[in-house]
């Protein structure tokens, strides 16, 4: 069993959990895979910017995020399920976003 089959199987498993009964085509699997790699690599590169703050913190968080990403491997199907079009989830994220922005601006500017 090569890696591609493992990934295909994992995506199928996640689909099964969500009750999404569309057939998994080659195209869908490869695009999910691309999205997965893109999101993990972007996250890792972005975390490297923590070096401006503290080098040890940067190394620690890069390793931590790498391990977490490997463990939670199919991130993308879950992420896609979170970003659906229902009003309930959208307004939930809007309010969470408002909370995060207000807190960050208070904390970031008073202690930065």
């Amino acid at each position: 069993m090569n890696i591609y089959d493992i990934i295909l199987k994992k995506i199928k498993d996640v689909r099964m959990e969500t009750g999404d009964d569309e057939p998994v085509s080659n195209m869908a699997a490869s695009s999910m895979l691309t999205a997965e790699i893109t999101i993990i690599s972007t996250l890792l590169i972005a975390v490297v910017m923590l070096r401006l703050l503290n080098k040890t913190l940067m190394i620690g968080s890069v390793v931590l995020i790498f391990v977490l990403a490997i463990v939670a491997m199919p991130i993308m199907p879950r992420l896609k399920r979170e970003q659906n079009d229902s009003l309930a989830s959208m307004s939930f994220y809007v309010i969470i976003g408002l909370g995060i922005i207000v807190t960050l601006f208070y904390w970031g500017n008073l202690n930065g």
């Binding site: 695009s31 999101i39 659906n84 079009d85």
Partner: protein, 497 residues
């Protein structure tokens, strides 16, 4: 007195209201729309740079006849230079952006007039109203005036989606309005806090008050105002957490409407983003936050685009992701970065409109948007296929097109600011953008035609092809001679940085 500056807003609004009255008279509607649409890019092109004070009240310092005999309590203090009237500033950067917006609106209106049998006055009304309010947002130096036009633009966007007759457009419009009715009162409160601290709604005066110590810049009320205004900015432009609803809005509009809607988002992004930078650039965290939210927008937008099966939604997510590039340029805060960001904004508005209209020809021929049911369209529409391919290359940033120049400038700016990681992420995501586009292009045009796909035997209107060629010419001109655009934008970037 430079009367052309207010006329840029007044002409489209007046004609829009007039068009709405002419409901059944198709030919009159057509004639008026054609003339007004032509006026949209030409009026800013011939207008001179200047400042317009509504009601004719310039600051006292520039108006010595009134200032005579006033006590020194007024003439000796900052009140002397404060702006009593709503002020519109028309500089070189505004000129380029309004011309480009007018250009996109011109072709959107023309295509909408010729693609349907019966021209609808209501659709033209909504498009003109939205364009006028975005022009006013770009011009306005008054933060409450900006809020009013922001709300009008939101209503016009909802209207453009409501008239589209695409499935589930009412639901999406209602969702957008509900989220908007949460976000825009919060933006209003942000403006109210700014007004409460500085006693002013004119942005130049607010900046003066903050920089000259008339108010305490570290006051927590100002921090709160900054966070609420940024929240309203996220809503108006469709950055996360609003990216799902904004991309749904694009995909539920007609292709012409979608092309115009994303131009609205891009230019309101620029208009409000510049205001945030002007007022709050003394907060170091504001820059970090803008860069962070732009990175999130780019990543989420582009990765979500890959997984879509509906091609309109795919381009919609790509459009949201491309907004992140502008945000990076603004967030870097250097003169080069801001110039690159503004240049990218101009380019992106053109290219995404190009893509929406180009893929719109598929909808015109087949009435189908699901990529799994499409294929083999190259034989049917070879000319528009070539143009769409060029648009996709332009969006991904392939040289000789314009986005290559602006993305190159962005990479240089981020390297100069000592953040090579951002440059790497931008290049990586450009490659993924290209891959996403090529996947859509392959499935729609190159793959063999599915048996059950019905293709209508209607010719694509010539005006659509003309519009696409015109967009291509703009892309090529800005790509080969980027100085044309950057010379216009540099002045504003220098004044902010």
């Amino acid at each position: 007195m430079n009367y052309l500056i207010p006329l840029m807003v007044v002409i489209p609004i007046t004609c829009a209201l007039f068009l709405n009255l002419l409901h059944e008279r198709t030919r009159t509607v057509k004639a008026i729309s054609i003339i007004v649409a032509l006026a949209l890019p030409t009026v800013p092109l011939i207008a001179n740079y200047g400042v317009q004070y509504f009601g004719g009240y310039p600051p006292l310092a520039q108006n010595p006849t009134i200032a005579v005999g006033l006590p020194t309590l007024i003439t000796g203090t900052a009140l002397n230079i404060f702006h009593p009237a709503i002020t519109y500033v028309f500089g070189s950067a505004q000129k380029l952006m309004i011309v480009i917006l007018g250009f996109i609106a011109l072709f959107a209106i023309y295509i909408s007039l010729y693609e349907v049998k019966k021209a609808s006055g209501v659709y033209a009304y909504l498009m003109l109203m939205g364009t006028a309010s975005i022009i006013a947002m770009l011009l306005s130096d008054d933060i409450f005036n900006l809020y009013v036009f922001f709300e009008i633009a939101a209503l016009a966007q909802v209207g453009i989606v409501l008239v589209s007759k695409v499935d589930y457009n009412y639901e999406t419009a209602l969702k957008y309005m509900i989220l908007g009715s949460i976000a825009s009162p919060l933006l209003l409160i942000g403006i109210a806090l700014l007004l409460g601290v500085t006693g002013n709604v004119n942005i130049t005066d607010i900046v003066y008050s903050i920089q000259h110590g008339l108010v305490n810049p570290q006051s927590p009320v100002l921090l709160m105002a900054c966070s609420l205004i940024i929240f309203g900015w996220l809503y108006g432009t469709g950055l996360p957490p609003f990216h799902t609803i904004k991309s749904a809005m694009y995909s539920k509009a007609l292709p012409t409407g979608a092309a115009l809607l994303q131009a609205f988002s891009v230019f309101s992004f620029v208009a409000i983003g510049i205001i945030i930078l002007r007022i709050f650039s003394y907060l170091p965290f504001a820059h970090i936050f803008i860069i962070g939210i732009s990175l999130v927008a780019m990543t989420l937008g582009i990765t979500m685009a890959i997984t879509q099966t509906d091609f309109k939604r795919l381009i919609a997510y790509l459009a949201v992701g491309e907004l992140g590039y502008i945000g990076i340029g603004l967030g870097l805060g250097t003169a080069l970065g801001i110039t690159a960001g503004l240049f990218q904004a101009v380019n992106e508005a053109v290219i995404t409109a190009f893509l929406f209209i180009g893929f719109g020809t598929i909808m015109y021929k087949t009435k189908e948007t699901d990529m799994r049911k499409l294929g083999g369209m190259l034989v049917e529409t070879p000319k528009s296929a070539l143009l769409v391919l060029l648009a996709g290359l332009a969006m991904a940033g392939v040289p000789p097109f314009n986005a290559f120049q602006s993305k190159l400038m962005l990479v240089q700016a981020s390297l100069n600011s000592g953040l090579p990681e951002i440059a790497i992420i931008m290049v990586l995501l450009s490659i993924v953008t290209f891959m996403t586009f090529m996947r859509a292009f392959h499935t729609i045009y190159l793959r063999p035609k599915p048996a059950d796909l019905e293709i209508k035997n209607e010719k694509i209107p010539n005006i659509t092809l003309v519009a696409m060629v015109a967009f291509l010419v703009v892309c090529l001109v800005f790509g080969l001679f980027p100085q044309i655009a950057t010379n216009f934008l540099q002045g504003m970037a220098m004044s902010i940085a």
